[in-house]
Amino acid sequence: MKVSMRVNGVDHEHDVEPRTLLVQHLRENLRLTGTHVGCDTSQCGACTIHVNGEAVKACTMFAIQADGAEITTIEGLATNGELHPMQKAFWENHGLQCGYCTPGMIMASVDMLKNNPNPTEEEIRHGLEGNFCRCTGYHNIVKSVKAAAESMQGGA
């Protein structure tokens, strides 16, 4: 089946099987391997991307469901070589170690701040319930999101 979508600002059209998951389509057909697969029960969030501006787990959607959608993956966050404040914040606050959960964590965090630009620690922890990290113990992830929130508010 034909599927078209705009990914990170670029239009793509492909022929896919209906059963091709969106995450497979992005990784294998579009070669955008920054979105990762970490589980098979839609828990871990390593595959989190933005579909039409909202955080979605790309492993729990078929590519064809995203026909006509506007998609942003981790590769599309930085603009003109400038890291997104969330990416910077994760770097500056050691919010990652092995990096495998990080793209999904960053995408989920960006969406969370969109809806709640100045979250408390508790709200950050609730907001990232759907993203597992096994390395950091979450302490610095919370710090990173707080720092990003501050810098994004300040800069606005």
């Binding site: 059963r19 729990t60 959607m61 969406d111």
Partner: protein
């Protein structure tokens, strides 16, 4: 990890969708948010030959008050419920429930209709709809019909929907003034299915006595359960600690939990008991607060 092949169909209106259901029978499944179905398909626990994606059918995504009811389109996603001003201001039970389903990314896709139509007693909305004394609207080849929520879950993973019917709307009676509700859930960890959860919706009169109360129980039976003995006890009463404890005991007795990784039957009953009391207390507080 990867589902077996299937055909993907995108009807543009309900009657086309219904016709497809008729045509393909039990080989077909409705795809709404997909967050119950797709995980099952990835593990090859569900292998439908046809997926009927109804997300392209406009007009199924709304939250509005009409004719003394809150009407929610079946394709309304949980995040929309969380963000709705009407829900936030008048339906605390519904808000509590929506917030507890899985996690924020899942809630961007998962639909209220899907949560009900899946028929899983571990899902959160069924008990909530019992407490709200809601009804659902189903559309099939012979038109639409309204199904009371008490008739909607006859058995484990079974709903009252015929094979060729689609759930299109949820209807919740608008609460009178001085209403309150709450959904309390014990999970092993956030986002997990409930070890047990209790939904409570009530309204009080000027003296603080409960006029009407609905109590629904999640994941402590093969279907969601109405704690009717507790409801009968409390109707018309202003409960003290003893009566609340009795209500908890009755709700626990009405539940039929199975032992699993989340706990023994005895433990789950104890949770139902405790959560029932807390949910009623919180609902009463909220009702007082909303006078």
């Amino acid at each position: 990890m990867i589902p077996p092949s299937f055909e993907y169909l995108t009807p543009s209106n309900i009657s086309d969708a219904v016709a497809l259901l008729q045509k393909h029978g039990d080989e077909a499944k409705i795809l709404a948010g997909g967050h119950s179905l797709i995980p099952a398909m990835r593990l090859r626990l569900a292998e439908p030959g046809y997926l009927i994606d109804i997300s392209g059918i406009g007009g199924l995504d709304y939250i509005q008050e009409e004719s003394g009811q809150l009407r929610i389109g079946a394709m309304t996603c949980e995040a929309a419920l969380e963000e709705s001003e009407i829900v936030q201001s008048k339906y605390p039970l519904l808000l509590d429930t929506a917030k507890m389903i899985a996690d924020p990314s899942v809630r961007n896709m998962a639909t209220v209709g899907g949560n009900l139509a899946h028929g899983d007693p571990a899902n959160d909305h069924p008990a909530t709809m019992l407490a709200l004394r809601a009804s659902v609207v189903a559309e099939g080849p012979n038109g639409t019909r309204e199904i009371k929520i008490d008739d909607f879950f006859p058995d484990f993973f079974t709903t009252a929907l015929a094979e060729d019917e689609i759930l299109t709307e949820i209807r919740i009676p608008s609460p009178p003034s001085a209403s309150g509700g709450a959904y309390l859930k014990i999970e092993r960890k956030v986002g997990d299915y409930a070890a047990a959860a209790v939904a409570c919706q009530l309204n009080i009169d000027s003296s603080g006595s409960i006029e009407n109360i609905g109590l629904g129980l999640t994941n402590v039976g093969s279907t969601p359960i109405r704690a009717s003995s507790a409801e009968e006890l409390l109707k018309g009463k202003k409960p003290d600690e003893n009566m609340l404890a009795e209500a908890g005991r009755l709700a626990a007795a009405d539940s039929e939990p199975m032992e699993d990784l989340r706990g023994s039957a005895e433990y789950k009953r104890a949770l139902v008991n405790e959560l029932t009391q807390r949910a009623i207390k919180l609902s009463l507080q909220r009702a007082e607060g909303s006078r």
